[in-house]
Symmetry: C2
Subunit: 322 residues, 2 copies
Amino acid sequence: MSPPAAQSPVFADLQDAAARIAPFAHVTPVLRSRALDGEAGAALHFKAEHLQRGGAFKFRGACNAVFSLPDADAARGVVTHSSGNHGAALALAAQLRGIPCHVVVPDGAVRAKLAAIEHYGAILHRCAPTIAAREAACVQVHADTGGTVVHPYTDPRVIAGQGTAALELLAAQPDLDALVVPLGGGGLASGSALAMQALAPQCRLYLAEPEGAADGARSFARGALDLDVVPDTICDGLRGALGAINFDILRAADARVLTVDDARTVAALRLLWSRTKQLIEPSSATVLAAVLGNPALFRGRKVGLVLSGGNVDLRALATLLE
Amino acid sequence: MSPPAAQSPVFADLQDAAARIAPFAHVTPVLRSRALDGEAGAALHFKAEHLQRGGAFKFRGACNAVFSLPDADAARGVVTHSSGNHGAALALAAQLRGIPCHVVVPDGAVRAKLAAIEHYGAILHRCAPTIAAREAACVQVHADTGGTVVHPYTDPRVIAGQGTAALELLAAQPDLDALVVPLGGGGLASGSALAMQALAPQCRLYLAEPEGAADGARSFARGALDLDVVPDTICDGLRGALGAINFDILRAADARVLTVDDARTVAALRLLWSRTKQLIEPSSATVLAAVLGNPALFRGRKVGLVLSGGNVDLRALATLLE
């Protein structure tokens, strides 16, 4: 069975998602730092999604998807493949609704994230670390259980849910000049684009993407999806290939990709740790790396940055610090 | 010249301190964690002093001391010896008042903390890492400059300032059953005792002290100061010897010392990092280690815990994680 062609969500879907997840999700704080404003020469407003339930923005989309399901579908559970944060988020959302959650995880996934997925009661299904193997395993679990597949970033319910982070940020700070979000598969980025177009059309959307997983930059340069990239980056949350629906939304919003190399991301990570005392994961630091690496774009501006998650593997982190 | 015998501050001094520092200090948030409540079987309320300016509660006392000075005294500057957070805090407070700050720092002090002290414009004076050498250097700098010596924890203005953290916590949560603070020299602990006696007499005060620097536990056991301890603990903020004035205040408040070994502190540190995403320093984790190590005292209770600071040396941290 092939899924129906996904229909792009619109702003009203974000508003519905915000209402649907309100009983479960945190309205995360917006953090400021004098020291980082000084480094950037800009007024930085960090949306702290590492303080979201499950430790990442992913809970928003997962929660919206799980609580959108009719009861009969929900009873058969949900299925996904995920390198980590989406799997944990879907597991938590399913636990809150009291339904089964099946998660296909690739070998080599971050240990802390697998522990979180199991902690929330999901059933793990291991597979080889290729996109093809992950999707095949997902199809098999779907066939076995009848559970609803919730894709980590192309599912319109997920996109609408992820957009609620920018919705909150822009409701609090409607006069942002720029919004910078990490770009992996594009769920957060495309949801943010929909929020921004409705609430802050003057705002420019920038997508921080690791140089080692720059399918987004290539796709924007070509004007068509170009996924011929083997991800090689410490940003384990940003290795997914940009989705077609996400790409379309981002192009319509005139988003601009800023690539950052891992060395700059690690420097930004250390700066964020020491200045804000927030234990964010490497993917989250790409946004500050993008701002610091492009002063001409941001100096003197009011900038929103989404810190996407804080699920760091402490052992892996130790090696980053040496 | 010898200083006048310090007079113990009273609750009104805490209220004055709160008003005096209000234009400069943050009212830090109180953090909750479902996961940590589950681990402890208690309702934990974390006062997030790592989010205070300068990255530690120390700014409260330093700010109160600096802004208490008459203009003529202030113009000659302030002097202190400090293994780190107090030095940085005094430097920041002096910078805010526009006066010189001299800091005597022992060899071997944490690199990140020295960088912070210099960042705030203080003049560093190095000395051997013994208490005698530190005090002698302090006296010399005082003689050379005429600056006012602000002791890190026996100065009554400092004690009153440190007490404002518990003042805020108890104003927000007046029905705490227990309050747990780290014990080093006793500035935070004694200030907290004064706040607690006035605002929450039903609350019991517990002092989390590293086993490797247990002069507090020995002093309470003997009923008299017993400083015959060579500190050996990863909690670099808690190596100071308990002050006489602090000990007197703590005894009057019927405080109880709970010692924790470094292994439990490191386990609590990792738990706090992974569950709250807050990058606190080892000294801050003693309070959770004390709660988890003494379930009979805390299970089912409403507990306040002061997270004292977040000035971690990232390289030292990496070795803790291996």
